[in-house]
């Protein structure tokens, strides 16, 4: 039996199912884009003769390795609003080339489905169209269509997979399905993967139980990575930083010194500034999607949240420049910056001055009691006052 697949990367509505302007299908989860996870699952669970991926996104935004040589199918860019028309054309081409059954998937959702089982169900029941539905009977936008039902397929594509021309059958699926419509869903998928509750595996080497590290990642020896966690390829985790609570750093993320990363997923090429507390969020493209507060915050200040260049030579040049400017900056600071320590004028003053390590922060030191006790009424025995007073 000749089975082929069409994977449509697009949403029924514009600006839906996108994160920072890109479809969730392109977002990396534990080292691989969601669309690759779907394609790999499709190939692993059934014998597929050919796959066509249809998207409106320009080739420059496609994930690395999006070509047939890597087993990722043939990628087509649909012009303008011709996404569904292009998918319909791909269906007709497959039928003309002799396909018996065609699997149509809109990503969309990620479902841990046994595609072989769905095709078998479709064939045995002699259905024309089979739609996979979740436990709430909601469609997961996964269909198996018989090659002979060209008009049914055309009708389905023209209605963006929302309406059927004729009677169809449902294939109930109660396994793991993630609709990927919000940053919460993306984060949930990473957590489930790290906790090994779903079948996606982090792309990298498990250096200790529950900690996966991608190729070329650099983790400073004075940083802490608490299991489970994922550090993607080419990431840099600098000194005194902490990665904890199922955090997932996608490739080329930089975590600067002293930053705590807790329950966070990053998008590729994210820069997290020094000394931050990044918690309960999805971070990337100079934005933070805080999952607790359910808010998206854009950062114009690259010292806090920034984006590293996707161009490797540019990144290397940036590192060289920062290294080259480090020593002159330290030298100038040593020459011109005022000293924070004041030398006591006399020996008694010197021995009564507390050690530098015991000194309170400048702001608190400035707030030393300025009001003497005489200001309070004489009959007041106990007065609780706030803060520094």
């Amino acid at each position: 039996m000749d089975v082929r697949a069409i994977v449509v990367l697009g949403a029924p509505e514009e600006s839906y199912e996108t994160i920072a302007g890109e479809p969730y299908a392109f977002a990396d989860v534990l080292g691989a884009p969601v669309v690759y996870r779907v394609l790999d699952r499709l190939k692993a669970t059934t014998d597929i003769n050919a796959i066509t991926v249809v998207t409106e996104a320009p080739p420059s935004t496609w994930p690395v390795g999006a070509n047939p040589a890597n087993g990722r199918g043939t990628w087509l860019q649909a012009a303008g609003d011709q996404l569904w028309r292009t998918a319909e054309q791909a269906f007709e081409d497959y039928v003309q080339n002799g396909a018996d059954q065609i699997v149509v998937i809109r990503v969309g959702a990620y479902a841990e489905l046994d595609f072989g089982d769905v095709i078998q169900y479709h064939t045995q029941q002699r259905h024309n169209v089979t739609s996979v539905v979740d436990s709430k009977n909601e469609p997961l936008d996964i269909y198996v269509i018989s090659g002979s039902r060209r008009n049914d397929a055309a009708y389905l594509f023209r209605h963006r997979l929302r309406q059927f021309r004729a009677k169809y059958e449902r294939y109930p699926f109660d396994g793991y399905a993630n609709r990927l419509t919000s940053p919460h869903d993306l984060r949930h998928m990473a957590i489930e993967g790290l906790m090994q509750r779903i079948q996606i595996k982090p792309e990298g080497t498990e250096i200790k139980p529950g900690v996966w590290v991608g190729r070329g990642a650099q983790i400073h020896r004075r940083s802490r990575v608490l299991s489970p966690a994922y550090i993607g390829a080419g990431c840099r985790v600098r000194a005194a930083s902490v990665i904890t609570r199922c955090s997932s750093l996608e490739h080329h993320t930089v975590v600067d010194c002293g930053t705590v990363v807790e329950n966070v997923s990053t998008l590729p090429f994210t820069y997290l500034g020094a000394g931050l507390d990044v918690t309960h969020s999805v971070v990337g493209r100079s934005r933070v999607w805080n999952l607790k507060r359910n808010v998206e915050v854009e950062f114009a200040d690259a010292r806090l949240i920034g984006e590293a260049s996707a161009n490797a030579p540019l990144r290397a040049l940036g590192s060289l420049l920062s290294l080259a400017s480090f020593f002159p900056a330290q030298f100038l600071r040593g020459l011109f910056a005022p000293s924070h320590r004041e030398c006591p004028a006399s020996l008694p003053g010197a021995i009564s001055t507390p050690a530098a390590a015991l000194e309170a922060p400048a702001a608190l030191k400035a707030a030393a009691p300025a009001v003497d006790a005489g200001e309070f009424p004489a009959n007041l025995v106990v007065a609780r006052r706030y803060g520094n007073e």
Binding site: R293, V297, E389
Partner: protein, 141 residues
């Protein structure tokens, strides 16, 4: 004798980048220079705040503390809350849900307020409706 000082509520702009932060600081500089200033910054409008905005808040805090005053934040927008949490500065400020709550908080523990409180139940007398005596033992029926 302790007197009540005014509490000044200042609404912050919707963007707190370097330019806006400098303008805001210029606006409030006279307030910071007063003796024991009592300030509330209403952060409900803030939609974007960068490191300069956080620096400005810390600067205000330091100035107010130098003069033995207090600075509180009120109605912090979710965007501002995320930035404050991210930069670990949220723990340095007292934060209130509304400006009204923040203003009221200044008057809560003043000695004047405590001094004029009437004593309703002298020590040792049972409080009506209370099932325990002053020494903690249950009252006889």
């Amino acid at each position: 004798m302790e007197t009540s000082r005014p509490v000044i509520v200042k609404r912050m702009p919707d963007r707190l980048n370097q330019k806006q932060a400098r303008m805001f600081l210029r606006d409030i500089q006279p307030l910071l220079n007063t003796d024991r200033p009592q300030l509330v910054f209403d952060c409900s409008l803030i939609r974007q705040m960068d490191a300069a905005g956080v620096d400005m808040l810390l600067h205000c805090m330091a100035e107010v503390m130098k003069r033995d005053g207090e600075l509180k934040l009120a109605a912090v927008s979710p965007q501002a809350a995320v930035v404050l949490e991210l930069t670990r500065t949220d723990r340095l400020f007292e934060v209130f849900e509304t400006s009204g709550d923040a203003v009221k908080s200044f008057y809560r523990f003043l000695p004047n307020a405590m001094k004029n409180q009437p004593v309703l139940f002298p020590m040792g007398t049972p409080i009506p409706g209370d099932s325990t005596s002053t020494d903690g033992a249950p009252l006889a029926a």
